[in-house]
Amino acid sequence: MGRKILLEKTGIENINTYEVYRREGGYSAVEKALKKMTPEEVVEEVKKSGLRGRGGAGFPAGMKWSFIAKPEGVPRYLLCNADESEPGTFKDRFLMEKIPHLLIEGMILSSYALGCNTSYIYIRGEYMWILRILEKALEEARQNGWLGKNILKSGYDLEIYVSPGAGAYICGEETALIESLEGKRGNPRMKPPFPAVKGLWQSPTVVNNVETISSVVSIVNNGGEQYASIGLGKSTGTKLISACGNIRKPGVYEIELGISVEEFLYSDEYCGGINNGKRLKACIPGGSSVPILPHYLVTKTANGEQRLMTYESLADGGFATGSMLGSGGFIVFDEDQCIVRNTWNFSRFYHHESCGQCSPCREGTGWMDKVLKRIEYGKGNMHDIDLLVSISKNIEGNTICPLGDAAAWPVASAIRHFREEFEWHIKEPVKCLETNYGLVKETELEA
């Protein structure tokens, strides 16, 4: 059994209530930090821990914190990004639902470290029931003196507010999140200036993922070095993985970074192997935006080394033969799944979610959707495949925010690894119907 940090106590009955959470040692990190540590010392521990952003990009959290500008007389803000909308990713939901006080405790610690007196949890609008859970937990924390003025008589004041999004994936991008929180249309901002210099209300701002912030609790309690001792190399600590697709045991798992993909995919402690005795066809290890891996690159890298659940190993081979750990949305496809249809499905999603600001993304996502749909319906031609590659290259790196990249990578990698399947859809549209490639009748799809 791997060590659990975030999900350690989720099995305890009523851990979502303040009484139980406190009884089980909750908020002791806040006591420790506010009574015995300076904000700089908290930052230092987080730096030592090697904790990396769990939202997807994997940027070292301590370093991000140290970038925050500290101009005189200007407030600073911590924003918790709980706008978890990446297809295949549902780990933050689980954490907030099961143990909301862990996030709040992490928010208090992080806000203290950054010198923020007002912090926000920006949660996706579809998580309305979790918003209520968080609001209840915040109220409990407030009543018990963990929020408000002069917390633990330390002279430190903090208020935390929860603010719901309104159904836009783009608002999970940090600058769009800031715009949305300010009450504006969720269009990403140009960088520079970065949020650490000019973020919410033009003030220095740090945006961190739910899991990142929650991990700070253990780091403060047990020290950064202890956290760094878990994991492998620069992938320290534990990571929540939301596993789904054709596996026997879909769900949210906490892994020690560094276990092998094979163990994660096949051991009974985690996914428990492919469902119904089928064979593995492909896997997307980090949420819909990251490149898809064909079965022969899932457990082994192109060099034949064992593929590990770390930021580095999953990216081994670059975009040619690797992928990314991303947000930890682990999507598994068995041999019956149609890659074209799945790629089209993702493209449809990105088309729907593009904010419309940058022309390559606004128009390009639409055309990828349209062209993929055509191929899936058996009406494509061979040029379409090159057209898709051309569009994806055109979007990638040419937009203000990473949504463009996120839309381009799945298409590019699917064609890279499954080009034959695309060609086959075009060449043999009728045959597709009879096989496990899953080409279906137009009428069925539109129903």
Binding site: G356, S359, C361, I391, N398
Partner: protein, 905 residues
């Protein structure tokens, strides 16, 4: 520090923080890197990605593609603007954009003038590889508005219109609705242009790269023979205009980006209100009153009639029985000749101009404190200041381009607004001191009191640059603050906060308008504003000063040219013998040394029989001067009333002779804007047949009266002016350039942005004191007329509306309305749109009610743009005690619901 980066392997210098696009544009042509979402008066936006370039940190290093418009240049980096990769990206992006853009170029409004078309050609699009899919070609055109149009099927989502609306005008009417492919431009709450909050400034249409947003004149793409750069004839901002002319007709107007005054922006009036110029109502022949009827005559008949009458009156009563009012709408040269006609030819100083009824207290007040009655600084210094004080001005309506700049400022930095109305700026301002009309002196004294009390004076500045401070301080500290609080109705704590903010700001700039001057104590209020600037050291550097927002395009110039009865051209005091001699020598004739009548005194003199003749150059005194009935009575006593006009105004209807004049589009000369900037007005079209420029008319009369004066020519006129007006010494017609020069212009041609830098014009700045007095208008009438009416302007119309009412603006604002607080409306059972009878001791009028919280209970507000309403029947003849500027801003009235029915003109 100079840094170097490489463009296509050639080293160039850049400055820290510069973006790649502007760096490249500095050394190559403007469209070297093609762009779609970039526009020259907007912030970088980075959405079209067409400006993408490749950047490597070292030679032959790995490159990254970045949007050049918003990526800062890195020292020593290698920028590749046209690499194969970049060219391909550009082509592909434009191709994608074209998939949702109708390719009906040949019949498109902007064919050949379309930025998308140009960029598509430049990146080499030959075909669109995408099959026909879902598009937005079926979006309906919006033709609801008299000026603005939209055809959003042509929209390429570049956000330029939205950004123009936000960043240039600050109106935030346009926005993007929907997401991704469904994104589309909406106006207000998805209204059409007419129903939206659009102020018709046209910035969006000018910014749009296609024909998605345009205007009815098709300004972007109109086919023209020539474009003429001239200066707007409406307010004192002095916007430069590019006027397109075809076959001798004005087709459209755009705002040039290289104009220092307006930087590619202008307002509804400047851009769209030009169609009056060839309106069928234009006067096209001289008219002489015969047997009570105005009958057509030739120019010679008219001139003979005038000359004969003038000579007759002059010999019968003397030259001082003749008077003139010049026009702040006319050029400097025309004003100069007008005063020369009176001084040198007729032999009287009875010459005034409409500066009298607007900013004469500013001139008088600032002459007493600083020595010069003109704006001390320039408008563009709004970008260099930390706090702005706006007193008695509503620039978003009356000076729209400056108003937009001030609004942008108020959204970012602290602003203090002193105004009885909750104006648009007041809504954005950090401090709004909503005082009772007529109590400026009280509030300004309070501010000065708190600055002194808090010890926030700039001791050093006071010691070195000013005089009279001890006496002033003594006076200020003896103010009864509680009493002033009661008088003004403004919470003293709020005044204190504002005063402290003004004093503590490193640089504070002050702007004021007619809400300061058109009062019994107008001059005193101006002097207190000067005191505020002096006590805090806010004079003589960038981003500070006292800056009147001059009302009319050339009201500054009319006074500069000597159209005032107590000073000659160049503000020289002719009562001094040496000045008198100088003028006599210059004009070569004997001159009068007797100070003439100011405008209000002229009407009194007429009634008393001391004035028998008047020449009005384009002034509608009946509609615009206070107490209309009195003005009408006065004019009816005249033996000769000559009016130069372009339309039949209420005043012209009373004239004995009407001379048809040319509008600003038909003549050349110079206008001086509110920041002392002398700019060239260039004739765009020939004078409408039958009309003559006012300058020529005046010169014709001069010659008819026996003085030799060459025909009207701005170049030679300026030459003459530069010899007598000291601050015009270096002004030459051919050297004014496109952006003009700010006076004083030295003999070597150098001009002056900031006045009073080292010393004040008068040597030391003089602190002046003032004690608040209630206007007799209120003390005498408040029992029967308990409401206070204050007059103002609408954005859409200009003054008496002679010009703007003859354009389609009248579809947008068809009449004057009375602003009334809901509390008062309820009290009198007045509903929105009801007719209200407004009564003052002088008369009564009917006007339509508009219920709003813009005014406090007890306060009413209205405009006088429409002759039907006759607002000035109500206003009083009480004037500023020092400069005789009428008190338009405080009128004691009473109201009741009218039995009258609303009539649309």
């Amino acid at each position: 520090m100079i840094k170097t980066a490489f463009i296509n392997n050639i080293p160039f210098n850049f400055s820290e923080g510069e973006m790649i696009l502007s760096f490249v544009r500095k050394y190559f042509e403007k469209d070297y890197i093609p762009t779609l979402c970039d526009a020259q008066n907007l912030e970088p936006f980075g959405s079209c990605r067409v400006c993408t370039v490749e950047v490597a940190l070292q030679k032959n290093g790995n490159t990254k593609t970045v949007a050049s418009c918003h990526t800062p240049v890195i020292e020593g980096s290698y920028i590749y603007t046209h690499s194969e990769k970049v060219n391909k990206i550009r082509k592909n992006i434009v191709e994608l954009v074209l998939t949702d853009h109708p390719l009906d170029c040949l019949t498109c409004e902007v064919n050949n003038n379309c930025e998308l078309q140009t960029v598509a050609a430049k990146v080499g699009i030959r075909d669109v590889r995408y099959p026909e899919g879902k598009n937005h070609f079926d979006r309906k055109k919006d033709l609801s508005h008299p000026f603005m149009t939209s055809d959003l099927a042509k929209c390429i989502n570049c956000f330029r219109c939205i950004r123009a609306c936000d960043e240039v005008q600050g109106e935030m009417v346009l926005s993007m609705a929907g997401r991704g492919f469904d994104s589309q431009i909406i106006k207000s709450n998805n209204n059409n242009f007419f129903e939206s909050d659009c102020v018709s400034c046209g910035a969006c249409a000018q910014a749009c790269p296609t024909s998605a947003i345009s205007d009815v004149f098709e300004s972007k793409s109109v086919i023209y023979d020539k474009k003429v750069r001239t200066v707007c004839t409406y307010c004192g901002v002095g916007c430069n205009l590019d006027v397109a002319v075809s076959n001798g007709n004005v087709k459209s107007i755009q705002a040039p980006y290289d104009a220092e005054v307006n930087n590619g922006h202008t307002c509804i009036k400047g851009r769209f209100a030009f169609t009056f110029y060839n309106h069928p109502d234009r006067l096209k022949t001289p008219l002489i009153r015969k047997n009570g009827e105005l009958t057509p005559a030739t120019w010679d008949e008219a001139y003979d009639f005038i000359a004969e009458k003038i000579n007759e009156i002059k010999s019968k009563y003397g030259p001082d029985y003749i008077s003139g009012i010049s026009s702040a709408r006319c050029t400097n040269e025309e004003n100069y000749f007008m005063q020369k006609l009176f001084r040198a030819v007729i032999g009287t100083n009875n010459i005034d101009s409409c500066a009298r009824v607007c900013h004469s207290p500013t001139a008088t007040g600032m002459q007493r404190t600083f020595g010069t009655g003109a704006a001390t600084n320039s408008i563009d210094e709004i970008n260099n200041t930390d706090l702005i004080l706006v007193t008695g001005a509503n620039p978003t309506n009356a000076h729209p381009v400056t108003g937009a700049k001030l609004k942008q400022f108020a959204m970012k930095k602290p602003m203090i607004v002193i105004d009885p109305r909750k104006t648009e700026l007041a809504r954005y301002a950090k401090y709004h001191l909503q005082l009772k009309p007529g109590t400026n002196v009280a509030v300004l004294n309070m501010m000065l009191y708190y600055i002194v009390e808090e010890g926030l004076e700039d001791i050093e500045f006071i010691k070195n640059r000013t005089e009279g401070y001890d006496e002033f301080k003594n006076h200020i500290l003896n103010q009864n603050i509680n009493e002033l609080e009661k008088i003004s109705g403004v919470n003293k704590e709020l005044v204190k906060q504002a005063a402290i903010a003004y004093a503590k700001a490193e640089k504070a700039m002050s702007f004021h308008g007619l809400g300061v001057t058109e009062h019994l104590q107008g001059t005193y209020s101006v002097m207190l504003l000067s005191d505020l600037a002096m006590i805090t050291g806010n004079i003589g550097k960038k981003g500070v000063g006292v800056n009147p927002l001059r009302g009319q395009n050339n009201v500054q110039g009319a006074a500069d040219m000597g159209c005032q009865p107590h000073q000659g051209a160049g503000y020289l005091d002719f009562t001094k013998p040496e000045i008198h001699n100088l003028y006599e020598e210059f004009y070569g004739v004997k001159l009068s040394q007797k100070i003439g009548y100011k405008i209000p005194e002229m009407f009194e003199a007429m009634v008393e029989g001391k004035l028998k003749a008047m020449i009005l150059m384009g002034e509608d005194v009946v509609q615009t001067d206070p107490n209309s009935n009195f003005v009408i009575e006065a004019l009816s006593k005249l033996e000769l009333l000559v009016v130069n006009e372009i339309f039949m105004t209420e005043t012209a209807k009373m004239a004995h002779v009407i001379l048809p004049a040319s509008s600003f589009l038909e003549k050349s000369g110079t206008f001086t804007n509110g920041e002392r900037r002398i700019q060239r007005v260039n004739a765009v079209v020939d004078p409408i047949e039958g009309t003559k420029p006012d300058g020529q008319i005046v010169i014709d009369i001069i010659n008819k009266l026996g003085y030799k004066q060459a025909d009207y020519n701005p170049e030679t006129a300026l030459e003459e002016i530069s010899k007598i007006v000291p601050f015009f010494a270096g002004v030459k017609w051919n050297e004014l350039g496109i952006n003009g020069k700010q006076w004083p212009v030295m003999p070597d041609g150098s001009d002056t942005k900031i006045l009073h830098k080292e010393t004040f014009k008068r040597g030391k700045g003089k602190f002046q004191t003032a004690t608040w007095h209630e206007s007799p208008e209120i003390t005498e009438n408040k029992k029967d007329f308990p409401y206070i009416l204050t007059t103002n302007r609408e954005l859409e119309h200009y003054n008496s509306g002679t010009m703007t009412r003859r354009t389609n603006i009248s579809q947008i604002v068809p009449d004057d309305v009375l602003l009334i607080n809901p509390v008062d409306a309820k009290k009198h059972f007045i509903a929105e749109g009801d007719m209200v009878c407004v009564m003052s001791v002088r008369g009564k009028i009917d006007v339509k009610a508009h219920i709003t919280d813009e005014v406090e209970p007890g306060i009413l507000s209205s405009t006088f743009h429409f002759p039907l309403v006759k607002m000035n029947v109500l206003t009083s003849e009480i004037s500023d005690t020092e400069a005789l500027c009428p008190e338009y801003k405080v009128v004691s009235v009473n109201i009741r619901k009218s039995k009258g029915v609303y009539q649309n003109v």
